[in-house]
Subunit: 245 residues, 2 copies
DNA sequence: GACTTTTAAATGTCAGACAAATGAAAAGTG
DNA sequence: CACTTTTCATTTGTCTGACATTTAAAAGTC
């Protein structure tokens, strides 16, 4: 592990990259303790604050965790699914919100991936997943639900659908696609009528999953995609009109 | 933007979270300049090194960029697709390598998602995407290609397939799934015979995409998934035998 | 006006210090 | 000896103050 003194990049960035490479290539293994900050400072011939900045960069990516006290230090962190989920969601959400990604593009990507889970979920879903889906559908039918709560329940429903596939890697990938859509979905005001349409489509999906009919689930998802797009477009149209006049 | 003095979390972590929230909720917009380090230190009532550690955490997630000199400072960064790709790949790769994800699970997730792109790609692929796919197939048929080069070409082929869908969000999501598999694929030694089988399946896929037949592309991908799994299992079996004796 | 020099502001880096947490060894106690 | 308490060294967390470097704008010069 060495750094290039001629590079014009920040020392802390170089050190972070150097350690990250060591982790990703297997030079440092999970739960292994890194040298102490003082030792790292010696090794890279920099000051302790610079080393600390590098370590904080790695901590921000969940690559290391630190512990104070005797026999403490920085340890290579086993990237857990929840940590990976959370990073995935942060990155996806920012990517959508900062790059003027159209509702259509985001929606298409999301439902394409969700359909990919549908057949697996139909084959493998447990009673638990089904129960969650039914419960969320019930919640969505309750009158007086705020739009935020409706959206949150929508996310929970789709998560159960995805988790039903029983593939944690797939769940991780979908987490970004589903959750990152939520800020975009929040622009939609759900009328009683549109909620009813969505609840009906959710019921179709749940029924298809229950009867282990992947094709039907896929078709219902496509119908839901169409419905969602139409809803969004009506909102955009309603917004555009007052401005245009 | 405030922090909780009673929390037992690191101050720099709290400050980073506070600023991150401001960015994600729209309180700070793209290209907006954050207060200087000295001003932030004043605001949060901490020292400048602590503020700097917080800013490095944000920089590690590409949420901000910094510029030196007069009128420099930290600016909210527009998360570009390449930055998002790279983070996605890092996270996915670590998730797979650190959690003993089975080859089967990773493979299933990847091909499920790739099939999701296939029909879109069949409908929209440009001549460019097709040309890339054909070129990579040609490269894969060259004798004397190292296993690493073969794998790299394999990734390039699949990227072209995915990019053919013309949906950058989908490409971003798939980047993780496809690239993170590469370390797992590297355990496979490709014999001349297995390479030929893969090249043939790649040709099937390219043909299906060219004739805009999404179902055929999907089917060819499934065949490729089966072939890949069989290859991996034969490698595992060959490894297990000497150890078991 | 065009060019050069100076200046001020900001980040990057360093050195040294103290606080706080924590596990392990040492000391004390029955 | 077994157990508890105390002490202590190690390590991270934080602060202060300083200097170096970069950079754009202001001031000066022809």
């Amino acid at each position: 592990m060495q750094i290039d003194p001629n590079s014009n990049a920040d020392l802390s960035a170089q050190i972070a990259t150097s350690i990250r490479d060591a982790i990703m290539t297997g030079g440092l293994i999970v739960d292994e303790r890194l040298p102490s900050e003082a030792e790292l400072a010696d090794h890279f011939a920099v000051s302790r604050p610079t080393v600390r900045e590098a370590l904080k960069r790695l901590a921000a990516q969940s690559l290391i965790r630190t512990q104070r006290g005797a026999s403490g230090g920085a340890f290579v962190n086993r990237l857990s699914y929840p940590e990976a989920y959370s990073q995935q969601i942060t990155t996806s959400t920012l990517l959508l919100s900062m790059n003027a990604v159209s509702f259509e593009t985001a929606c298409e990507a999301r439902y394409a991936m969700e359909r990919a889970c549908a057949s697996l979920s139909a084959a493998r879903r447990t009673a638990d997943h089904l129960a969650t889906m039914r419960a969320e559908i019930f919640r969505q039918g309750q009158p007086g639900l705020t739009d935020e709560a409706f959206c949150a329940s929508d996310v929970a429903f789709h998560r159960a659908l995805v988790d039903g596939a029983g593939n944690p890697v797939l769940s991780y990938q979908l987490a970004g696609a589903v959750e990152a859509m939520q800020p975009l979905m929040n622009i939609i005001t759900f009328t009683a009528r549109s909620r009813e349409a969505i609840v009906n489509l959710h019921t179709d999906i749940a029924n298809a999953i229950e009867s282990q009919d992947g094709a039907a689930a896929s078709a219902a998802l496509t119908a839901l995609e169409t419905e969602t797009l139409a809803l969004a477009q009506s909102v955009f149209a309603a917004r555009a009109k007052p401005l245009g006049q």
